[in-house]
């Protein structure tokens, strides 16, 4: 998940006949469901697209620690504090696998960080929203991780081997986070009057941004077709959004919370919910850097990176000195 509006080559998808023999052989391997491994030949555009997608996903895991870190220090019980710590630890771990997967494509973690810090690469828009009450820790787990899972489960079958394998592990942990988030919501929704209010307020604020996580509607999503042909995107944005709504609405009902959409209704014929599209103007604003927390999130990451420079430099220097001393001793 967490890759929205990943720019593709912008060209139309070529038919097999239009491709060079090498490209055709590559596409046929993908069509047969074979995995592409790092050292094998791949079209430049496939490589570039994957770097953008995996990089964006990795950055989202890293930046995604921040809205939760905002509540780790205020977690209301020892158990909740431990759960949240375990969760952010998992997320940092996901970031690590994903940066490693991207490295196999020839881009270093430092280069990817540089692109994040300079604004050349994005992270998921969802992390530009603030976490204002403890119920947000529930809503983030339930809705944000829930939406992430919708996208990531199919990506376990994606064509690039290291990415697919990273997804297998990530999905297991994400579904655990989602259950944990739902459980926080359940306690809040069944709690005191104030807690119920916090739970409803969190749903009100996160519903739209969660729907946006799947990216713009298919008709406006110019980059999807090539990514789908390459199997680095497995479903369309609208398919996944619908699946998310269909699964989440009954959960909200179970919690006794109201989904903030007056037009929401179940269509007996299609067996799907009809729902209002999120505010796409807001989505594009957030992507442009005008979300409620864009500035804070990026500044926090940059500050952490800059202030940590002396530590990274020292670690490198120590490793070099150690190696030199060892050599001198031999």
């Amino acid at each position: 998940m967490y890759a929205q509006l990943v720019k593709s080559t912008g060209k139309n998808v070529q038919s097999l006949e239009e491709m060079s023999p090498q490209e055709r052989a590559f596409q046929e391997r993908i069509d047969r469901g074979e995995k592409i491994e790092p050292k094998e030949w791949m079209p430049d555009a496939y490589r570039k697209n994957l770097i953008r997608q995996i990089g964006q996903h990795a950055h989202s895991e890293v930046v995604g620690q921040l809205p939760e870190g905002n509540w780790i220090t205020r977690a209301p019980t020892l158990e909740r504090k431990a759960n949240l710590l375990a969760k952010v630890q998992d997320e940092a771990g996901h970031g690590l696998y994903l940066y490693c997967a991207a490295e196999t494509l020839g881009v270093s973690r430092d280069e990817l960080y540089e692109m994040l810090h300079s604004g050349k690469m994005k992270y998921s828009s969802i992390f530009n929203y603030p976490t204002l009450t403890w119920a947000d820790m529930g809503a983030v787990g339930w809705l944000v991780d829930g939406a992430a899972i919708m996208n990531q489960v199919p990506l376990q079958r994606t064509s690039f081997g290291p990415y697919a394998r990273a997804m297998v592990r990530i999905c297991k942990e994400e579904s655990f986070h989602q259950r944990q988030g739902f459980q926080i919501m359940m306690v809040m929704a069944n709690g005191t009057k104030e807690q119920k209010r916090m739970a409803q307020d969190a749903l009100n604020r996160f519903w739209g941004p969660a729907l946006m996580m799947f990216g713009p509607s298919d008709k406006d999503s110019v980059h999807s077709a090539q990514s789908m042909a390459w199997k680095i995107k497995m479903n369309t944005n609208d398919e996944l959004r619908q699946k998310f709504v269909d699964e989440t609405v009954p959960q909200a009902e179970y919690l006794g919370l109201k989904v903030p959409d007056d037009n929401l209704k179940f269509n007996e014929e299609t067996e799907h919910y009809e729902f209002t599209q999120p505010d796409w103007d807001e989505f594009y604003d957030v992507l442009k850097g005008n979300g409620p927390c864009n500035h804070e999130r990026l500044e926090t990451r940059k500050k952490a990176w800059d202030e940590g420079a002396w530590v990274r430099d020292a670690m490198m220097a120590h490793a070099e000195k150690k190696a030199a001393r060892k050599q001198a001793a031999e």
Binding site: V62, V63, Q65, L66, E68, G69, I72, T73, R74, A75, P76, T77, L78, E79, R80, K81, A82, L85, A86, V88, Q89, A92, G93, G95, L96, Y99, R109, W134, I184, V187, M188, G191, T192, E194, Q195, T300, R301, K303, A304, W305, E307, G308, A309, W310, V311, R312, D313, A314, M315, M316, A317, H318, A319, K321, K322
Partner: protein, 250 residues
């Protein structure tokens, strides 16, 4: 005074306060690997807190839970040593604090595995494995950062200079310790001084750092007599939900 209760609070509050401080780093460490390691350390410490404070609550017998003890006591009822409540400042100080604590904790918990109180020996057995791993990591980091560059050496020396007057509070002895010792529950913390000192000396030598020439020790944390100003702010953050919504379940 219930000496065993006091003793258990000291154990629990040390790991609670350090775990909390460590958790403040979330998402802002110098490298992703360090983020993972810090979250992992904090998680271990909060897990240990639960074990100590659950037992403390039972021993007290007033119907309080571990969470009540963590989230509804005020600063003067906390029994952690002062060093652990000092602010993180930077990565160097955070790791130096961790090392100075780990160097004690590994020896201390090892000794507690022989406690006559089986519950304490069980908690110690579980915790010491984690403490050993923390020590390995904090020691390696201190050495790397002390050795690394001129700047990192300077920062680590500053961290050691700042923390040194706090470091040995944990090995002071009072009536609570005497009572625990008498009952075979715990050794005197002062018995850890020699192995602690040896480990700290060898580590600082390998890290090219100079141990300050001072025996002064700040005290008042483990007795609760006089905490630093920092603890109140930490608790204001940590306890906000339990304090704001009394009786709510989370």
């Amino acid at each position: 005074m219930n000496a065993l209760f006091e003793f258990l609070l000291r154990q629990g509050d040390n790991v609670l306060v350090l775990g909390h401080r460590t958790s403040e780093w979330c998402g802002t460490a110098p490298a992703l690997e360090e983020d993972i390691a810090l979250a992992n350390t904090a998680l271990d410490l909060i897990g240990q807190t639960k074990l100590w404070l659950e037992y403390a609550a039972e021993v007290e017998g007033e119907g309080r839970s571990a969470n009540d003890l963590a989230f509804l006591r005020d600063a003067y009822d906390f029994r952690n040593v002062l060093m652990l409540e000092t602010p993180n400042e930077d990565y160097g100080r955070t790791l130096m604090r961790q090392f100075l604590f780990d160097a004690f904790q590994v020896h201390w918990l090892t000794a507690l595995t022989d406690s006559k109180d089986s519950r304490i020996s069980e908690i110690a057995m579980k915790s010491v494995k984690e403490a050993q791993y923390h020590l390995e990591r904090s020691r390696d980091t201190i050495i790397a950062l002390g050795d690394g560059t001129e700047l990192s050496n300077k920062k680590m020396q500053a961290a050691l200079d700042y923390l040194w007057p706090y470091a040995r509070e944990i090995m002071l002895v009072d009536d609570v310790d005497e009572a625990m010792h008498k009952d075979g529950i715990a050794p005197l913390p002062s018995e850890i001084l020699a192995p602690w000192d040896a480990l700290v000396k060898s580590t600082m030598r390998d890290a090219y750092l100079t141990i300050p020439d001072s025996n002064f020790v700040h005290k008042g944390g483990r007795t609760g007599q006089r905490h630093t100003e920092h603890l109140g702010h930490m608790l204001a953050t940590m306890q906000v939900l339990q304090r704001s919504y009394p009786g709510a379940t989370w």
